[in-house]
């Protein structure tokens, strides 16, 4: 048991996570069966809802955009050996950053407001992860606990600001006024209509391009730059990093800031792309599901994009499913995410060991 579990690389990055997801789905299927519904029918409805129409695909990709951002945020921290559970709070603060810019500057043309608002979202997200990073480096408090606390602090701060400072008076729920049109990131159907291509309407917006860009950025950063090398070294072996002259503290701070900035970008999709105003709880759990996405995608941008699409399908298909079978609510998706985190993360060995066993037997008999 104590020997490391060796697997060919392709099996490690594809077979193991796929098996983990299959196991998670089988357990989820049992749950559906347990509440007296047909899991096969539910799966078919889910797939139909997610991919059965152009609109469905649009929604799927719109949800996937959120997961790419939060998944990347968790993944880059993983590579430095850090666990950032604060995606939720960083995204919330990102929303605040974007909203503050929009409220102040949305009389300006879009080519000034939008970049500023995106930077605002990244900056506030980065700040909300940088402080826990700083406290770990300088004061020795662990980022896991601090980022959890910062999730709650962000939530209460934004409630306070929306109720007392930046909220629009006279509304039932605390939210800001709607931003001017110049602060709206175009929907994909609007953008493509400009070029004469007509696609079905959905909340899918240009943030998807930003998400793919961010994935490419993370890939280049981690595997093709000196900084990325340093990040991965710190994650693999802090001792080796120290001997190599890499400052662990500096890398921790930089990684946390990048991680937070990525989580903050979620606000670009939700606030600038869809809502057009700041409201409460727009991050609605995406930060936590980002952990599932990162684990399933093996902390690699390609894997994360694929895992995000899967979770996007679950979200969109789950919504449609809950219309067809009201007994299977969208809470199912939260439970499935929990199962994926369990089987692809904490119980990883449960799947890896038998697979490794099969491989070694197969290889021995082959030789």
């Amino acid at each position: 048991m104590s020997t490391p579990i060796e697997l060919p690389k392709w099996a490690d990055v594809s077979l193991v996570p796929i098996l983990a997801v299959i196991v998670a789905f089988l357990v989820a299927g049992l749950v559906v069966l347990g509440i007296g519904e047909n899991p096969v029918k539910a799966t078919l409805l889910l797939l139909k809802g997610a991919l059965g129409s152009g609109e469905g695909i649009g929604y799927t990709l719109y949800y996937a955009t959120n997961f790419i951002f939060t998944g990347l945020a968790v993944a880059i921290a993983f590579h430095a050996g850090l666990f950032n559970i604060g995606g939720e709070g960083q995204a919330t603060m990102g929303g605040l950053g974007a909203a503050l810019i929009c409220l102040r500057f949305d009389f300006l043309p879009w080519y000034i407001v939008l970049p500023l608002a995106i930077l605002g979202a990244m900056a506030m997200g980065a700040l909300w992860a940088f402080i826990p990073g700083y406290l770990q480096v300088k004061r020795g408090s662990h980022v896991v606990i601090t980022t959890i606390m910062f999730n709650f602090l962000a939530a209460t701060l934004v409630v306070y600001l929306l109720v007392n400072v930046i909220g629009k008076p006279g509304l039932m729920s605390p939210e800001t006024r709607t931003f001017a049109a110049s602060a709206h990131l175009p929907y994909l159907h609007e953008a493509l209509a400009y070029f004469g291509i007509i696609i079905p309407k959905s909340p899918l917006n240009l943030s998807l391009a930003l998400a793919l860009l961010a994935s490419a950025f993370v890939w280049v950063l981690l595997w093709h730059t000196k900084l990325g090398y340093a990040i991965r070294t710190v994650g693999h072996s802090p001792t080796a990093a120290t001997y190599a002259g890499i400052s662990i503290g500096r890398i921790t701070l930089i990684t946390m800031a990048i991680s937070g900035a990525l989580a903050g970008l979620l606000a670009v999709n939700e606030i600038l792309g869809v809502q057009g105003r700041l409201l409460l709880e727009f991050s609605s759990g995406y930060g936590f599901i980002g952990i599932a996405v990162a684990l399933m995608g093996r902390a690699h941008p390609v894997g994360i994009v694929l895992a995000s699409i899967l979770f996007g399908m679950l979200y969109q298909g789950g919504t449609e499913l809950s219309f067809e079978i009201p007994r299977v609510t969208r809470d199912m998706i939260v439970a499935i995410s929990g199962l994926v985190i369990l089987f692809a993360g904490a119980l990883d060995g449960l799947i890896r060991r038998p697979v490794a066993g099969l491989f070694s037997r197969f290889l021995k008999s082959g030789v």
């Binding site: 406290l135 952990i291 599932a292 609510t329 199962l339 904490a346 449960l350």
Partner: protein
């Protein structure tokens, strides 16, 4: 005199609000003292709340509800234990999974069973833990100053609230004064030494994790059967994390855990009381500022600006026996 009765009322509601925190915090204490980090307190409380409400509703018996809550919570604790101890998986990841699984499953099953948007039907009578009125509480209440203390602070809480006190007493005593407690603490500081002494690390850690499950069962049952009258979706609302904060604040010790939880409960009560109240000379105190205090205080404490909180040395580290 009116100020005094307000004070008593705030203290009373602070005590009520701190009961689930005390149970959850002690659960975290047992688990983390044995070296298993537990951020899944929230999830275990939630399944316990749901299971207890469902069972109490079906049988009209609060004790059976409590039993079901404890069993459900132990079930989730064993998943965490299996992942953290046997599989040597990442304990934080496992805790996050427990929380999400609990949030999803309770809402899903609750909605499927009762079709009331995830809540259980309201409980009444024997299905709930009623406040215990101590002898002569009403008469003694008339005595100025001391009377209300007896009638509202000492008497008049639910059975489970007194259990929280007993749980603190027991946890403190067992962990400090008994051989079992010493071993639990040792396994959280230096598991190799315990192993060398011929005591099973795995067994001890499973014990601690199960005790944590039992205590979270009490915490969740109190929420559903004592404080509220039934289960509401996500009714723990971050209490598991406040308990975690309290645990750090108490520096992983039982009695300080009780006081910290009471303080955090009191803050909650004050926040509720101050909603929309103008304080002379200061104006309106934002409720959010008070709600944020437990988290803020924990961050400041962890950063070592007031004292120092050092976790058990081996907490979070899976134990690998040498070969």
């Amino acid at each position: 005199m009116e100020i005094y009765s307000t004070l008593i009322a705030i203290l009373e509601s602070g005590m009520r609000l701190s009961v689930p925190l005390v149970f959850a915090c002690l659960a975290g204490l047992w688990s983390e003292r044995s070296g298993v980090v537990d951020i899944g307190l929230e999830g275990k409380m939630l399944v316990a709340a749901f299971a207890s409400a469902a069972a109490a509703g079906a049988t009209n018996n609060a004790l059976i509800g409590l039993g079901a809550g404890i069993i459900a919570s132990i079930g989730f604790a064993l998943i965490h234990g299996f992942a953290a101890i046997s599989q040597r998986g990442n304990q934080i990841v496992s805790g996050v999974a427990i929380n999400m699984l609990a949030a999803g499953l309770t809402a899903l099953v609750g909605n499927a069973w009762y079709a009331q948007g995830g809540r259980t039907p309201p409980l009444e009578g024997n299905a709930r833990f009623q406040p215990l009125t101590w002898p002569g509480a009403e008469t003694i209440d008339q005595i100025p100053l001391i009377g209300p203390v007896y009638a509202h602070l000492i008497s008049g809480h639910s059975t489970l609230a007194y259990c929280a006190l007993v749980a603190t007493l027991l946890s403190g005593f067992v962990l400090r004064r008994t051989r079992f407690g010493l071993r639990i603490r040792a396994v959280g500081e230096n598991p190799a030494a315990v192993d060398t002494a011929g005591v099973s690390v795995t067994r001890l850690r499973y014990f601690a994790v199960i005790i944590a499950g039992v205590l979270c069962g009490f915490a969740g049952s109190y929420l559903a059967l004592g404080q509220a009258a039934g289960f509401l979706t996500n009714m723990t609302a971050g209490k598991g994390f406040i308990a975690l904060a309290a645990l750090i604040f108490a520096k992983w010790r039982a009695w300080p855990a009780l006081w910290t939880c009471f303080l955090f409960g009191l803050l909650d009560a004050v926040a509720i009381r101050l909603q929309g109240v103008m304080v002379p000379g200061i104006g309106q105190i934002p409720v959010q500022a008070i709600q944020a205090l437990p988290y803020l205080m924990t961050v400041i404490l962890l950063a070592g600006f007031i004292g120092k909180a050092i976790p058990p040395k081996a907490s979070g580290l899976p134990y690998v026996k040498e070969r």
